[in-house]
């Protein structure tokens, strides 16, 4: 009987193990499917990092433990297992009877104790498990861009951020934007680039607009400053050019005055101040101020002025390329940098070299349109006033109509022709539709047959 007892225990244990494995597999399948859905939801809704979501895999441990515990609790009754063993061994009830009665006398005739084999058709369960495992793995490895839903997808501001970043770097490079301010802008831009979500686009766009406005304001300010400086540089260049064209016989006093005026112009332009630094060599300025500019110094000064202009133009071109300023502003700047007529100025200096005020006025005027195209403040001239013929309307009083006639008036049509005036006889006529009558051949008008006349009259209660 010991062999049968051993077979019984072995068979019972085998059943419990198989059922525990089967239940654990099924629960794990369900768990992995549920976890996969949760991971998908979490990744789309919360953007939690994947490695944190992977912690959910540890949920399999209690699930497997619970399955084993449950199946061990639901372990089939030993008598049922014994009955199954009896049935399979074909002992005809002897193994079952051994539980209640003494069957030792039949020990020699008992069949061999061989527990039946358990066969589990596991194909479907394993397939489902594989599918769920694959699904779970996919939910982990799927890229973020596929998991983000529309309202949580990052805003597509990469290009704008890139442009703004280039603009900030350019402004910083040209010293238009201070380093600490530029660092603040960059930091804010990076933050926007990382945290910008489709969920709240207005806030992001507002911040981007603010940044863009700040850079454009700075660029515009720099451009306006550049226009002013270009104008001063152009005037100075014109004056310097005129001075170099003066004949050698020109009085030294004139040259000194002109040089001082040149120094005054350059100082007033404040080239070394503001957003754009276009400063000139200070020794040249000092010589000019003293009125002792040599011809070499004059050449150097003109060369420096030209270089400053080129530098300013290059900066403006850069700003234009970065779309910080518009082309019109660049054009204005270029125009401002165009030197006025140095020949006329040289002639003026030859004649009125000592009149500094006049020289100043002339330089101002030379910069406003040029002498060849007439004065800019010429008065406007007007021709004859416009003729009102065929445009104005002539008032005409229409003849008064009888109010009683209007009482029963019916609209029979409209005409573009003017109402006909019949002189003294004030009768209301219909102009071009004078001959027209209600129902007189108009397809849209209801034809009233003679038989209906009485009914129509009664309806409107007309008195003949």
């Amino acid at each position: 009987m010991d062999a049968h007892q051993r077979a019984l225990r072995e068979f019972s244990g085998r059943i419990v193990r198989l059922l525990a494995f089967r239940t654990a597999l099924r629960w794990a399948t369900v768990w992995m499917l549920a976890l996969g859905v949760l991971v998908l939801l979490a990744r789309t809704m919360t953007r939690l990092p994947v490695h944190q979501l992977m912690l959910g895999m540890f949920g399999l441990v209690p699930i497997i433990a619970a399955a084993v515990w449950l199946e061990s609790r639901r372990k089939p009754a030993l008598s049922a297992v014994r009955a199954e063993l009896d049935r399979h061994s074909g002992s005809g009830g002897l193994i079952m009877a051994a539980e209640q009665a003494d069957v030792s006398s039949w020990a020699g005739r008992m069949p061999e104790a061989r527990p039946p084999a358990l066969r589990w058709r596991s194909g479907r369960a394993l397939n489902l498990f594989g599918v769920s495992a694959l699904f779970l793995a996919l939910t982990f490895i799927i890229p973020d861009r596929y998991t983000a839903l529309g309202f949580q997808r990052p805003l597509e501001i990469g290009k704008i951020v890139e442009e703004l970043s280039a603009q900030i770097e350019a402004l910083e490079e040209e010293k238009i934007l201070k380093e600490d301010k530029a660092a603040d802008f960059k930091s804010e831009l990076n933050k926007l680039g990382k945290e910008a979500l489709g969920k709240d686009p207005a806030k992001t766009w507002e911040a981007l607009d603010h940044l863009q406005q700040s850079t454009q304001d700075l660029a515009k300010q720099a451009a306006e400053e550049a226009i002013a400086k270009m104008q001063s540089l152009a005037q100075s260049e014109a004056l310097a050019s005129a001075m170099s064209q003066l004949p050698d016989s020109t009085a030294g006093e004139v040259l000194t005055k002109a040089a001082q005026e040149l120094a005054s112009l350059l100082n007033a332009a404040k080239l070394d101040q503001g957003l754009l630094n276009a400063s000139l060599p200070p020794e040249l300025l000092a010589s000019a101020k003293d009125g002792k500019l040599s011809s070499e110094q004059m050449k150097e000064l003109m060369k420096a002025i030209g270089a400053s202009k080129e530098k300013i133009e290059a900066i403006l071109a850069k700003l234009e390329n970065l779309r910080l300023i518009d082309a019109e502003l660049v054009g204005v700047c270029k125009n401002a940098g165009r030197s006025p007529n140095p020949g006329a100025l040289a002639a003026f200096l030859s004649e009125n070299g000592s009149d500094a005020i006049a020289l100043e006025i002339l330089i101002e005027l030379l910069g406003n349109g040029g002498v060849d195209r007439g004065r800019g403040d010429a008065p406007l001239t007007w021709k004859d006033p416009s003729d009102e013929n065929d445009i104005g309307f002539k008032e005409q009083t229409l003849p008064p109509s009888q109010l009683s006639a209007m009482k029963d008036a019916q609209l029979v049509g409209m005409s573009k022709a003017a109402p006909e005036v019949t002189g003294e006889k004030a009768t209301a006529l219909s102009g071009a539709l004078n001959a027209a009558a209600a129902g007189g051949g108009n397809a849209r008008a209801q034809v009233i047959l003679p038989a209906h006349k009485g009914a129509v009259n009664r309806f409107f209660k007309r008195d003949n």
Binding site: V81, G93, R114
Partner: protein
Amino acid sequence: MTTAAVLKPDELQPAAELSARILAQMDSILLGRAELHRLVLIGVLSQGHVLLEGLPGLGKTALVRTIGRIMKLDFRRVQFTPDLMPGDILGTHILQETSPGHREMVFQPGPVFTNILLADEINRASPKTQSALLETMQEATVTLLGTTRKLPRPFFVLASQNPIELEGTYPLPEAQLDRFLFRLLVNNVDAGVLHQIIADRRRGELPEPTWQLERDQLENLFRTMDRIFLPKPVAQYISRVVAATHRDAAEATELVNRYVTYGASPRAAIAIAEAARAHALIAGRPTVGFEDVKAVAQPVMNHRIILNYQARFDRVDTTAVVNDLVGKLDETGLKLPADVKLETAA
């Protein structure tokens, strides 16, 4: 903890051999129906009554007569007719002069006072006469005029009825049907058996048994029957099978739920247990196994289950319902999942 001992091999062996000899005698006298003979013997060993159903001329009466002769039991035959009265079966009191000038009512026993009563065409008797058999079949006693008389032991009723010529017949009431252990269907034999009968049996006369069972041997068989062990799981299986014949029972099959009006009675469970014991004895086993229950479930229950009209329309009989139930019900109650199967280890 063991409380009893099953029959030892040397105790069981003589009974098993006797059973085998009885069967051998029956098979040699009546040709071609070994399974029927086995079931009839099971009925006798279970001391139950058997209803044989089949067409005329199939050897129902010969079967009963042969059993009686092999077992050396008293045998009576009653041909049931519509005008048969209860007194014709049970017996009656007759005024008889016992001594000069002295008369008294003397009981004249009817044919029921025998060991084996062959009730031929039992469904032709009136319900009154049929019901007269109720007490005799259940209690093995006859009560007349307040006096109860015991019938000789053993007492079996082997009744027959044929399923044709039903005009003028009285179908057995369910209460009486329930008292039959088995309802056995007697079918035609094949051509080979018929040829053997014609060739070997002059005018179909049955040969005399070469061996007969003695009364004490029969008693010994009954005593051995009582000691056949019924394990608890098998008893539970019997209970579950019988319970599952009722509609909406926990383990009722689809056929049961669709076609059964009334399921088997508790008497069916008792009958299955007894018949299974006899089956185990004939098989030479001291204990009842699931295979014994399966072997006898159909003849025990096929007359105890009442089907509805839908079953008639669909040509479904009780045999199909019981076979379906026995085939689908898990014997051990292990309740393994459907996708887990047991296979005999190689």
